[in-house]
């Protein structure tokens, strides 16, 4: 049985995507994690299969599909064995390009989205700053009006694709007053006055997470994305899909981790029998299977509502909160079941646990999710 909202058609796509990723990406995953970089050619390869434009219209070179097709890709990318590679592709597909599609002018779509779908330009989204993480309203990167455009100065951090991106969809302050009003978005081409430095992380090692500094970078008027001073709306609009995408990534990763750990427990023997035949391990695995299933149901429900055009902020927030914490705990339990092997880089669980640990922090931390829910629940 195919679990809704997916249909037969999505499962066909899933099979072909999985085949492609197993052939082209998965074999290199470990090497890319060790190198702390995946090659830019990955974008070209994905574009060749139409995987950078699943949900975008055919006029722009996309596949004319919808969010459900994208959801299939996200789940499958979580299985390749490199959170960093999935993150880099995800940042391009799910956070950098959607605002251009939704808020961009036709000209901006031709200039940025079409080449992004072809894999010729790589995108990043720049919101977080050293002193403004969860607290988006305290952004300090400023864009000052000058003749024909803006001069941008400031610093962004924890930017996925921050070293390799050709353009950065950047949140800037365009008024002096603080608060949510007065944030705008600019699409900034990499160029003079910008410098990136790569950050080393607990996990997601194949991705280039960077601090980007802007020193009086000139950005033309035509790069203003959406309305002036109304950038907060854009941030909010994108958060829902970003968080759903994270929940989907966790869903895929949990299913795989459970399967692999159950296999390991059936093979590994201690005290004269497979460890899966020890009650404590068997029950632990039963819990993990349950958690993975609950995570999937919560996520698929939010996804169904999202695709149906509801604005399921509550359900998306719950799905993000539940799956990110759970995925990390599940990976940690898989590591534990592997014992000494779980601690070794030669086996997958330590990498999976490190990658999963980003979930409760990135895309809005657990604490922020609970704040949002508190408000939505009228508390």
């Amino acid at each position: 049985m195919i679990q809704p909202p997916f249909t037969e058609e999505h499962e066909e796509l899933r099979a072909s995507v999985r085949g492609f990723l197993d052939r082209e990406l998965a074999p290199h995953a470990q090497e890319w994690e060790a190198d702390e970089w995946f090659p830019n050619e990955v974008f070209g390869k994905l574009a060749g299969q139409g995987l950078l434009g699943l949900k975008y219209p055919t006029e722009l070179g996309g596949q004319g599909g919808d969010y459900l097709h994208e959801a299939v890709l996200i789940e499958e990318l979580s299985r390749i064995g490199s959170g960093g590679t999935a993150a880099g592709i995800g940042a391009h597909n799910n956070i950098a390009t959607p605002p251009i599609w939704k808020f961009g002018t036709d000209e901006q779509k031709q200039r940025y989205l079409a080449p992004a779908i072809r894999g010729e330009k790589i995108g990043a989204l720049g919101i977080t700053e050293p002193d403004a993480g969860s607290d988006v309203a305290s952004l300090r990167t400023t864009a000052t009006r000058v003749d024909g455009g803006f001069l941008v100065s400031g610093e962004k951090t924890y930017i996925t694709n921050g070293v390799r991106a050709d353009f950065i969809v950047t949140a800037v302050k365009t008024t002096l007053e603080g608060g949510h009003h007065g944030i705008s978005f600019l699409i900034i081409d990499r160029g003079e006055g910008m410098s990136s430095s790569k950050l080393r992380k607990l996990g997601w090692n194949a991705s280039d997470t960077a601090t980007i500094s802007f020193e009086e970078v000139f950005v033309g008027e035509d790069c203003l994305l959406g309305e002036l001073n109304e950038g907060f709306k854009l941030i909010m609009a994108n958060f829902q899909w970003e968080r759903l995408a994270m929940a989907l990534g966790a869903t895929g990763a949990m299913a795989l981790a459970y399967e692999r750990t159950a296999d390991y427990a059936r093979e590994r023997t201690a005290f004269g029998r497979p460890i899966s035949k020890h009650q404590a391990i068997r029950h632990k695995l039963a819990d993990l299977a349950t958690q993975a299933y609950v995570g999937r149901c919560v996520t698929y429900d939010a996804l169904r509502r999202f695709v149906a055009g509801e604005e399921p902020v509550k359900e998306v927030t719950m799905a993000k909160l539940y799956t990110q914490r759970t995925a990390y705990e599940l990976m940690d339990a898989c590591l534990q079941i592997h014992g000494g092997a779980g601690y070794m880089k030669e086996y997958w669980p330590e990498r999976a646990a490190r990658d999963a640990r980003l979930g409760p922090i990135g895309g809005g931390s657990d604490e922020i999710m609970r704040e949002i829910l508190g408000r939505l629940l009228g508390l």
């Binding site: 002193d131 993480g133 607290d135 005290f271 014992g339 000494g340 070794m344 880089k345 980003l358």
Partner: protein, 396 residues
């Protein structure tokens, strides 16, 4: 009667928290170890994560007398009580290098005790004396690729041959395995004797047939070297037997107790250190117009962590007190090991969360604290083994 300003007893959060097991001498020792650690070890922590810590650390600690704190003076030790080794375990944590702390602990608290307890005078002179000086480095080989928690399932065989033994097998996850001069090796000498078929050997690591297969890469503890070792027809004389033939399993089970308690002490100290660093961060870091530590949720996280750390600390100290007093409290040691390891991991994880994005970055060191701490729920007996030991102690 209403309380007045004079009669109200105010909470004193700054009171010196010296536990009853420690004397002034312990505090002086603590001070001197701390000074050494902060001056000579901590500055190199980052570098040693990449290169593993140098053998000169052993030589230097030997020179300072830190490798034999609770060992007999007759062999060059300081002749201190059990608590002195606890002090070392707590203070070495300030080196910010779990791998270094582990390498040293394997030497002083895992490999050395069985030689002192079961070794011949000659063996003690040959290995313990130079080990306390830091001139020879020790390791211990229990785990095998197919026998981790199930110690009785080990397959490394030592077969009697003339006036000696021939050893074949492999050992894995061996801390200090690449740098050690000698290994305390657990072997099977009688396949049919069950728990009575194990024997310990002291095998020089330069003996023909001892192969250091590879350095294993790990989630954390990067400053330590972890080896996969192979033994191919390694010939040792009868004098290499450590303790009694056939009693190796019991010797090792005894050794594990002291090790687990020392490990638990390190966990508590590590958790405390991460807690303090994060407290500093929470006071400095602002969001939504105030220090994040002043949000109730964050304040409560600290309260939870502090409570967990304190419970683990008391458990370790009281268990150490019983152990030092001559009891053999296996159940309580297992409880302390289980609880302290979990607390260390939970605290490190919560500290990552409090740091937000910064917590995920290597620069802040919190992610490393988690990676290092995570070993404790696996090494020296997993959580599951501790639960089994505790459960069985009730006759279950």
């Amino acid at each position: 009667m209403a309380a007045t300003a004079d009669t109200v007893l105010k909470p004193d959060h700054q009171a010196k928290r010296k536990h009853f097991i420690f004397t002034d001498e312990h505090e002086q020792l603590r001070e001197s170890i701390r000074n050494f650690v902060l001056k000579e070890l901590t500055p190199h922590a980052e570098e040693w994560e990449e290169t593993t810590f140098p053998n000169s650390v052993f030589a230097r600690m030997g020179e300072l007398g830190f490798l034999g704190l609770d060992k007999p003076e007759a062999y060059g030790g300081q002749g201190g009580d059990y608590y002195t080794s606890l002090v070392l375990a707590e203070e070495i944590v300030k080196a910010n290098s779990g791998g270094l702390a582990m390498g040293v602990a394997v030497h002083t608290d895992m490999a050395m005790p069985p030689i002192l307890a079961f070794g011949t005078e000659e063996q003690k002179q040959q290995w313990v004396v130079p080990a306390i000086k830091g001139e020879k480095i020790l390791c211990i080989g229990i785990t095998e690729p197919d026998a981790g928690s199930d110690v009785a399932g080990i397959k490394t065989r030592a077969v009697k041959d003339g006036d000696g033994y021939v050893i074949n097998g492999s050992k894995t996850y061996i801390t200090n395995g690449h740098r050690a001069d000698v290994i305390v090796l657990v072997t099977k000498t009688d396949a049919d004797a069950g728990y009575d078929g194990f024997t310990l050997f002291l095998v020089p690591m330069d003996a023909p047939g001892v192969i250091r297969e590879k350095k294993l890469e790990k989630l954390g503890m990067h400053a330590s070297d972890t080896a996969l070792l192979a033994f191919q027809d390694v010939r040792v004389p009868e004098s290499a037997v450590l303790g009694q033939v056939g009693k190796g399993f019991y010797h090792i089970m005894w050794e594990l107790q002291g090790e687990r308690l020392i490990g638990a002490a390190g966990c508590v100290a590590g958790a405390q250190r991460t807690f303090e660093r994060t407290l500093e961060y929470a006071n400095e870091r602002k969001a939504f117009g105030r220090s994040i530590g002043h949000f109730q949720v964050i304040r409560h996280k600290f309260a939870e962590m502090a409570t967990k750390i304190e419970s683990a600390r008391q458990m370790v100290y009281v268990t150490a007190w019983r152990f030092a007093g001559g009891e053999y409290p296996v159940r309580e040691i297992s409880m302390a090991k289980l609880h302290a390891s979990r607390v260390a991991v939970e605290v490190a994880d919560e500290c990552i969360q409090i740091h937000g994005g910064a917590g995920y970055m290597k620069e802040y060191g919190v992610e490393r604290a988690w990676r290092d701490a995570r070993l404790n729920r696996i090494g020296a007996g997993t959580d599951e083994i501790m639960l089994d030991v505790i459960g069985r102690s009730y006759g279950l």
